[in-house]
Each structure stands twice: as C-alpha cells, then as structure tokens.
Symmetry: C2
Subunit: 462 residues, 2 copies
Amino acid sequence: MKNTLEYIKKNRDRYIEELFELLKIPSISADSAYKQEVLKCADKVADYLRKSGVDQVEICQTKGHPVVYGEKIIDTSFPTVLMYGHYDVQPPDPLGLWDRPPFEPYIKKTPIHPGGAIFARGSADDKGQFFMHIKAFEAMSATGELPCNIKFIIEGEEEIGSVSLGDFLTKNEEKLACDCVLVSDTHIYSLDQPTITTGLRGLSYMEIEVEGPNRDLHSGLYGGAVPNPINILCKIIAELKDENGRITVDGFYDNVEVVSDEERKEMNKLKDDPKKYKKAIGLKALEGERGYTTLERTSIRPALDCNGIWGGYTGEGAKTVIPSKAFAKISMRLVPNQTEGEVVDKFTKYIKKIAPASVKVKVKPMHGGLPYVLPVTTKEYLSAKKAMERSFNKGVLPYRSGGSIPITSLFEKILGVKVVLMGLGLDTDALHSPNEHFGLYNYFKGIETIPLFFKYYTSEDV
Amino acid sequence: MKNTLEYIKKNRDRYIEELFELLKIPSISADSAYKQEVLKCADKVADYLRKSGVDQVEICQTKGHPVVYGEKIIDTSFPTVLMYGHYDVQPPDPLGLWDRPPFEPYIKKTPIHPGGAIFARGSADDKGQFFMHIKAFEAMSATGELPCNIKFIIEGEEEIGSVSLGDFLTKNEEKLACDCVLVSDTHIYSLDQPTITTGLRGLSYMEIEVEGPNRDLHSGLYGGAVPNPINILCKIIAELKDENGRITVDGFYDNVEVVSDEERKEMNKLKDDPKKYKKAIGLKALEGERGYTTLERTSIRPALDCNGIWGGYTGEGAKTVIPSKAFAKISMRLVPNQTEGEVVDKFTKYIKKIAPASVKVKVKPMHGGLPYVLPVTTKEYLSAKKAMERSFNKGVLPYRSGGSIPITSLFEKILGVKVVLMGLGLDTDALHSPNEHFGLYNYFKGIETIPLFFKYYTSEDV
C-alpha cells in the first residue's frame, strides 16, 4: 500500500488535470442536442482506462448512449470487484445562476472546502467520483499492489434513468460476473463524520399533460366560462399532499417498510443542526411529513416533488391567454418495499380520478428505479467501513440517503451480488444545481481509500 | 354616400394589398427584441395616413412605443370624431401551431368565412380593424363626402396595457378635443346577429414569484424535508377559486355591480348554443361561476385565469430538481364598479395571507384597466346601431364583451366623451391565438359602415 500512496502523491497534479479534461465535455444525456458530446465523453473515458493499464477496453453500443467497459484480470482465482460509475451529467440550467460556465472547470476555496474544490457540472456527480477509481486502479496497478481482479462499467444514461443498462447487464451477465459492485456516486455525511450509504430511495418520475380547449384562447373573451388547463393542473398538484405532508395517492403507503424505533434512534445519532441546515439553503422554515425528523423525511420516508411546470405565456411582459395545454414533471422517491410499477399505477389512477371531466389528462411514466438497502453485517459494508476509518482516522456510521441510483438494485437482482456505495462527496456540493463542485480533499481521500477497501475485502479477517 | 361606396368597390384590391403590407411587420410590443419592428410599423401607419389625405400626421414619442397621430379639420363648427386603434400585436407563440408563418398574410376560405379571411397575427386585433377607418376616411375624403372633422390616434402599446397612453391623453387634451371616440377593436356576435359592444371588462394582470431554497436542490437528497416552490405556487393558485367557481380573494365581489334581472334577460336573448360553443373550442364541458350563463360569465361577471406558469426543469427528459423559484402570470377581468387599484390591493394581501411562512412571495402588478359601459340611450350608440342596421340590413343588439380595452375608460375620464365600440371581428377569429384571421366580408362591411356612422352621427335626427 505504501507505494500506491506515494504514487498517488507523486501524480497529484496530473490526476487533477486529467479530470479537468473530462469535465470540459458537456455530456448531457437528457438533451439530444448533446448526443455528440456524450459520445465524445465515452471515447475520453475509454482512453483514460487504457492509459491507466486496463485491458480489453470497449465502447459497448446500447439503444441509447454507450457503456464503457474495461477489465484487468490478474488471477482468476482472486475475487473480482466491479466498479460502476456514469459519465453523463445533468443539464446545467439555469445557466444564469452559475458564477462561471459549467463546463470550464476551475478550483476555488470555500468555507467547507478550505483546501479548494473543483467547480464544474459533473465534478461530484459523477465524473470526479468514478475517476477516483480509475486513478486508484492506476496507482495499484503501476506499483504492483493490485490485490484482486477489477472490472469497470461506466455508463452514459444514469441521469435519465439508466434506460439501457438493465438490458446490458442481462446480455453480459457472464462477462460482468463479480463478487461485489463498488460505486462512488453518493456523499458522506460530513468531513467530521464519514459515512457509508447503506440505503437509497427508489424513484418514479412522471409527466402530466392537461389539455383544455383545442387552441389558445383570449382570456378576456373566454375567461370565466372555460376550464383553464393551468389552473386545473395546479389544483391537481395541490391535491397530491395533505396538511400533514402525506402523499394522498390512494394506497401510496400500503407497502412502505416500517422502520423499527431502534433503527430510527440509531440513524438519528447523525444529528442535523436545523439552524445550519436551513441557513445552508436559505430557508426560513422546513416542512415535511408530520412525525418524522428531517433525516427520516429524506431517507426512510417517501417524498413527492414537482420538478418542473410550464404552460401559457412565460415570456417578457403580459399575454392574456388561456392556453390549450399545461405540463408538469413530478417525481416520487420510494422506500422499501415500494416498487416503481406499483407507484406508477397508483399515481396514474389517482390523477385520472381527481382530474375534472372538462379536460383531457395524459400521465406518462418517464423513468424510475427500486429502493436499495445494504445490511451493515455484510463483508462488503465492513470492508468499506474499515477502509474509510483508516483513511479518515475517524469512526464511520451507516447512512441512508434520500437519493436514487436506479441501477443499484438491478446489480443485486441480475448479478446476484451486493453493492457498496462508498461516495466521497458532500450534500453541500450543489449536485444537480448551479456551481456544482467536488472538494480536492474528498477527491484524493477517495483515491486513497479505494485501495484500502480492496485490501480489506480480499483479506480473510474483516 | 353613393360615391363613397363606389370608390370603396373600385379600390378593393388595393385596400387588401395595403393591409397585407402592414401585417408583414411583426410589431410585437411585449417583446423588447422587436422594438425596431414596432417603430417600423408606426412609420408605415403614418405613411398610410398621409397617403389617405390626413393632415398633420406625426409620430409622437412616449416613454414607450410611439403614438401615431393625424387629423383632418374641414370646418371647426362641425363635430369631430376621434378614431382610436393600435398597431402593436400579441406575441405569436406557440409558433408551432400556426399553419403558416404569422407575419406572412394570406387569404383562405373557412366555413365561417366562405368569402375568405386574411390570416396573420394582427389581422383582426387590431391592424385590420383600425385600417378600415383609414380606408373609409380615404373614400369619404376623396369623394368629398366627409361630413365632419376626424382625428386619428393609433398607439403601439395596447397589448401591454397602453402604459404611456394615459400620459399622452393628459398632455394633449386640447389637441385631442372631440365629440366622441370611435373604436373598432371588438367583435360582433355573429354575421347573422350584428352587435355593438356596450360593455368591456376591466383588467388586472399580476405576476407571482415564489422563492423556496436559495438554490436549486437535488430532489432525492432534499425531497420530503424542504418547501418546493412549484408545489406551493400550485397550492396558492388552487386556492384562488372555490367549488362554485367564485374567486376567493377577500372582498373581491364587494363592489361588483349587480345587473338587474331585466338586463340579464335582455342580454340572454343572444343565445349561445352550448354544443356549438364547446365544439368550436374542442371542450367536453364548460365551467364557471355557479348561477350564471356562459354569456354572463364572460361579460357581467369577473374572472380569474392563470395565463402562464413556469419553474424547475421544462426541457426534454427528466431532471430531479427542487427549483429555487417558481413563477405565474395571473389576470383578473373586472366588471363595474371594480377598480384596478382595489383589486391589485386585495389580490396582493390575499396571496401574502395564504402563502406559507416557509417561502418568500413577491406579487407584482403588470398592468390593468377599468371596465366600461356605453348606455344604449346615447346618440353615439344609436348612430352606430342605425349605421350597422343599414349596412347589414339586419337588426342590431347591444352586447357586453368580456375583453378589455384599458384605455376606453381613460378616454371618457380625460376627454370627457363617450366611446363607441364598433368592432367588426368575430370571436372565432382566433385573437391572441395561432392562425388569427379577419374575414374579408367583415373588413369591407366595416369600411362601408363607418361612413354611415359619420352620416347619422352628424345629422340631427337619430
């Protein structure tokens, strides 16, 4: 391990420069206008894998954006770790709120990152994090300290629900055979309290279209007599939660796992300071499901949010129109044991039920994924815990995240192995927001921790 | 009059060609990107006035878009009619729904316009209609049959609330002195049942901004614990009307004029065929304030509509974000004796009252205007009625429109005269919508009716 750590130190500057090159590519998977950039990014990733000493690197075509694959088999009798990441990023809008262009990475110090952070779309989610694995591998491999076989699978559709990946895993089940999957696409609780993500919420992302009149109408001549699709869409959305912050969709909570009081007590040891929490996001007050803490509301309880809404005239000035149509994007975060299909079904039925007869309503599922839990008794968890406790020199706690990595449960289902979520970001890194960033300290702490995980995971005594 | 009518017939083709030139200019007042086009349109209008024989044509600067003025004084002892119109137009979006580009006028037959209609943004609202007055004047003046003095005032800000016109009227009170104002910016009930608009609703156009977190948040990491500005904006809008279709703003109906049963009975002689009405706009059902007919809901009763809403991710695909802000444009149609200031006040107070403490809410009045009523006993009304009955050879009824022409009440207040709303459009002409059009029959019927109005208005016996 000593040589590996020295190698990392020696190559520090290059490790940053190479990441910058990756961050300069606007690989926005949600917007077809960026298709070429996504492909360009896949090539770049493949290129980096080769240069780092990975064998059999290939760019695997899918129905959507390609998957980059590579492997290094040093001894078939050794265990094999499959490393997963994604090279696509979220759209950067609203562009106006970025201090600098989202795809021109730069380093700036912040109160939370006194050692400096890399600012760019994708820096933390997920380019900076999967690149830790490539660089850790390079160091282990260059110094001959790689203790097991490794496979890389880096996809380009995570931000749009990994639509093609399930297919890819099924078709390549043998090729991808491994003992566990290692993912860095999550965050630690704080630099003082490192955590390993032992839970993820599932996702069900829907789009609603409400159609009233067959054309835009003059709101003076028709106002007062015709159903307005915007007003009606608002009423529908308003009726999705009750005064206790509970989701009103019929039967929504039927399968929600009831977490034991012991576990709730344990998880609430991670104390959120509400003052700090509110201050960090500039809120006067928080809200949510009555009877649960903020930590619980964002981890073991489901949530419903409108992620986008549009209709009518949204330009400068005033236009007196009753539009023909109005639209909304709504996502629900799911917890064990909710399933995406079940929720899509219940949500669709409910919307059709509460929509007035005067309008046509379309409900379209966009994408989704199952929730996931990693028991804290598994060798996978314990190895990651030990590795992190060593590199951070601090105690590590399990942490259930509110986010979703739809494919996590797919890996378990198709490859039959556990997934370790050893993310190194912070939830203040502005993921999916303007000025996304990733701490330099976190970046290198990750590169140092990964070899330790390999070490403990491949040794008998964990 | 005979010569005037012959002159009109002889110049029919040129009267169409000249209007086409005007319709080719995208004079969109709401969008500052079109400022130059608005100015170009003002020049064109001035040019046409001069060519038609109007004296002292000037382009008068205002704080916003200019007003085009012109006059023809044949004898100061004669009565003077002030003709008002506007050369600005509504934005054409959504562009995708136009059969042809909005500023490339063409003629097409329709079931309602077997003689053909001119399709273009502004054809009916209001370029085609104010141009009728210029062409009618040209015919009267060329044939020496102009029976009175005439003044033209054609503005460029009607679609954004005539922000500068009040100022202009006040500053030019003497110059604009007249006996009545004639406006063609409204529609007749149908070609079988010509009407004169004796009422207009007022307008109060507001914009709401709801701010939650100080930046966009990842809906997975934060979903369930923070106020979502879109969900909250929807709840606010949903609470603006009750289950009886009544506006819930405190005291909103306090000053609403109660129309007598007799008058309601009279106005309902204009029978809307609900089947036809619904079919024309592709609706399965209508809605509105309980206890009133569609005709009443769109004329003597106030209305509230959301004209635009936007927030979060509205692009292709899915983005899991809780946005920092969400926005809505909301307009209210007012009836006698509501005032804009009163409604702005009550609306703002109510929004602040129902908005939760967890978000910041801004309420901004955009523009508005007072309602207007023209008594059916006035010489202005009777002259217009007689002129129309003669040209259409049909009985004419008074009609209260749901639309707003904010300046109508301004004319009455500042110039102290009555305003005659002798519009020739149809409410099926798709005003403010894609494929706006104006019937050729209506266009020339208007050009023939205007001289008759002058004749009756200037004669003793009406």
